[in-house]
């Protein structure tokens, strides 16, 4: 019973630890003079009104949605196909390949790759195109996505697919009818992960997209600083809230709809 008390205390501490930083996000946007302290706001919605006046704020969220949705779709589709192939086919060196890609992806997401990425996009005529951003972001996210999904695939029994094969289903049909629904929580997890990554990514869309009409929220957020680099806390806090809401909502939706967990788990 002492253990129970200990466990609850621990969980409350955890809850506090994780909730505390979020407090500011909940109060500052509604405060007419926000400071860096989370405090009971003098309630106002002016900040939202001010933000609505910004010509790019809302459209940038939409841009973020495009990019995130596109990337997530691409990553989930390709990662699912690749993970399925890797999980079902025994190729020597398969794991080494996977680890190699995973390591390379860590370079590609770093700062030093920006010139090659830019030149690549330039040569492929993908400057100022959302597709370019989506492709480049996908390239960086795919290895880890494959890695995570492969373990999901490994943990689904082959008898489902074999059963479908006996009925004459083609590989694509098996994928569509059986595998995808079965690993749906995994796909959802990877999708959310990809979206969260794209949502926060600044450098790639900034470098590749011209002009704020296509710029996602991560880029627009930087515009809310002044000439001297000072933050306008009123707009910034409000925008932060708006900027966070879509991912939070998506997460709530996905987790209630598909379950958000590694069922079976990632292992080797």
């Amino acid at each position: 019973m002492l253990a129970q008390v200990g466990r609850y205390t621990f969980l409350c501490l955890v809850l506090g630890f994780f909730a505390l930083p979020l407090l500011w996000l909940a109060t500052a946007p509604f405060d007419d003079t926000p400071t860096v302290t989370a405090s009971l706001p003098r309630f106002t919605l002016d900040n939202f009104r001010a933000l609505l006046d910004n010509p790019y704020a809302l459209s940038s969220l939409l841009n973020s949605v495009y990019l995130a949705a596109g990337t997530a779709l691409l990553v989930v589709t390709f990662a699912a196909l690749a993970a399925y192939a890797l999980s079902r086919v025994r190729v020597p060196g398969r794991d080494a390949l996977l680890y190699g890609l995973l390591l390379l992806s860590s370079i590609v997401t770093g700062t030093a790759t920006m010139v090659p990425l830019f030149e690549l996009a330039f040569r492929l005529n993908l400057i100022d195109s959302r597709l370019g951003v989506i492709l480049i972001l996908s390239g960086g996210l795919l290895p880890a996505a494959i890695f995570i999904l492969k373990d999901f695939m490994d943990s689904t029994p082959t008898s489902y697919e074999e059963s479908a094969r006996v009925f004459g289903a083609s590989p694509l049909q098996i994928m569509r009818h059986i595998v995808v629904p079965l690993v749906r929580p995994g796909l959802a997890t990877v999708g959310v992960w990809a979206v969260a990554n794209v949502w926060g990514n600044f450098l790639v869309p900034f470098l590749l997209l011209r002009g704020p009409d296509k710029a996602p929220a991560a880029v627009i957020m930087y515009t809310l600083y002044t000439e001297g680099g000072q933050a306008d806390l009123r707009l910034l806090s409000t925008f932060s809230l708006l900027y966070s809401l879509p991912v939070a909502l998506m997460f709530v939706f996905v987790s209630s709809r598909y379950g958000f967990r590694f069922h079976g788990g990632i292992k080797r």
């Binding site: 008898s159 489902y160 074999e162 479908a164 094969r165 006996v166 009925f167 004459g168 009818h177 629904p181």
Partner: protein, 390 residues
């Protein structure tokens, strides 16, 4: 509805395991055929090779007139029910049953009604909108059968379809399955490692060991005249008693007793030869008093089997001292052998009593080097294709 013919069928797994070893087998049209054998003997592999889920390493498989050895599974016109049923957890029962039709591009309306019909036949009508997770084991099994039936295949392949059910349900499902197969008349191959299931259900049984077939025959043939000690030990709810014996003129010296030689065995054995004497516990009659021509020993365990009991007698081994070629598993210690006897209700002894076990005439078997020697009257000799390749 077709016969299945396998010739020299071999399957070697990538790791080098030879799961099927140049196996020949014919399964007749409409037959309910059981594959029986211990774990790892290759039953599932054989089934999967028929289905096309494994590619044969050698030999061929014909279904009806067609050589299907190199056809993909979807083109063989077979249906398979897996041990775990492999019901798609994300589809309703209706969608599960209709799935093969969906693959065959039957339009939505008519596949819905066909699924409903099939479900009806198997008493699943009320469950069409449920998901597999909401069904009991027995219901799941029937859904799996319904799905297999839905596209009217030529051959049914069932991999241990009953082993996930609990004991009571298994009995019901057994009867149900048998009746169903009889009505549909589809050639059915059925894998099990439970001999009782095989005996109760099958028209014919193949007993496998190590990728080979040790005997093929009707349940009665296999039960009464196991072609070798392996089959003898495997078939029967209690294993056959297998005891070292030595021919002594017209009689047999078995565990200290003198028993008559089985009918017609005299010509096939030589005097003084060492053999193994086999008799089922069901074919031994227990007597609390001394009888001639009986095995005798102390009662050590009495197990209640319901209306009968299984009595284990501790008999002295034969003094021929042939312990090195004694069949494994039946000695309890040096110089002693356990003999099991089925005793009907009312006659059960107590542990510690001394008892006598009298073989019923015509039920004794003799094995030389593991293979059956005697051919008793009334039952045909084991088929040619069931003899063991060395």
């Amino acid at each position: 509805m077709s016969a299945i013919t396998m010739r020299e069928l071999t399957k070697v797994y990538p790791g080098g395991v030879r799961a099927l070893d140049a196996l020949d087998l014919e399964i007749a049209d409409g037959e309910f055929f059981a594959l029986l054998g211990p774990s790892g003997c290759g039953k599932t592999t054989l089934l999967r090779t028929i289905a096309g889920l494994e590619v044969a390493s050698g030999g061929n498989v014909r279904i009806g007139e067609r050589d299907v050895t190199n056809l993909p599974p979807g083109k063989r016109d077979v249906a398979m029910v897996f041990q775990d049923y492999a019901l798609f957890p994300h589809m309703t029962v209706r969608d599960n049953i209709a799935y093969p039709l969906r693959i065959k591009k039957v339009d939505r309306r008519s596949r819905g009604s066909k699924a409903a019909d099939t479900a009806d036949e198997l008493g699943l009508s009320g469950l069409l909108e449920r998901r597999p997770g909401q069904l009991s084991g027995g219901q799941q099994q029937r859904v799996a059968l319904a799905r297999a039936m839905a596209c009217h295949p030529q051959v049914f392949l069932l991999d241990e379809p009953l082993s996930n059910l609990d004991a009571r349900l298994r009995l019901e499902a057994r009867t149900f399955l048998k009746r169903l197969q009889r009505e549909l008349g589809v050639t059915t191959v059925f894998v099990t490692h439970d001999q009782a299931e095989a005996l109760a259900l099958a028209d014919r049984i193949a007993v496998m060991e190590g990728g080979r077939i040790r005997q093929v025959g009707t349940p009665t043939e296999v039960f009464r005249r196991p072609a070798n000690t392996f089959v003898a030990g495997f078939i029967g709810s209690t294993p056959m008693n297998l005891i070292d014996a030595r021919v002594r003129g017209d009689e047999l010296a078995v565990a200290g007793a003198r028993l008559p030689l089985p009918d017609g065995a005299r010509e096939q054995v030589t005097d003084g030869e060492r053999l193994v004497y086999g008799i089922r516990p069901e074919y031994l009659d227990y007597s609390p008093t001394a009888v001639p021509g009986a095995l005798t020993g102390e009662v050590v365990v009495v197990e209640n089997l319901g209306s009968v009991s299984l009595v284990s007698l501790d008999v002295p081994s034969d003094d021929t001292g042939a312990s090195d070629d004694a069949p494994a598993g039946d000695d309890t210690g040096a110089g002693r052998t356990s003999v099991q006897v089925v005793v009907p209700e009312g006659g059960e002894p107590e542990p510690g009593d001394t008892g006598w076990a009298v073989p019923r005439p015509g039920r004794s078997l003799l094995y030389r080097d593991g293979n059956l020697v005697t051919a008793a009257a009334g039952v045909p000799a084991p088929r040619a294709d069931a003899t063991v390749r060395s």
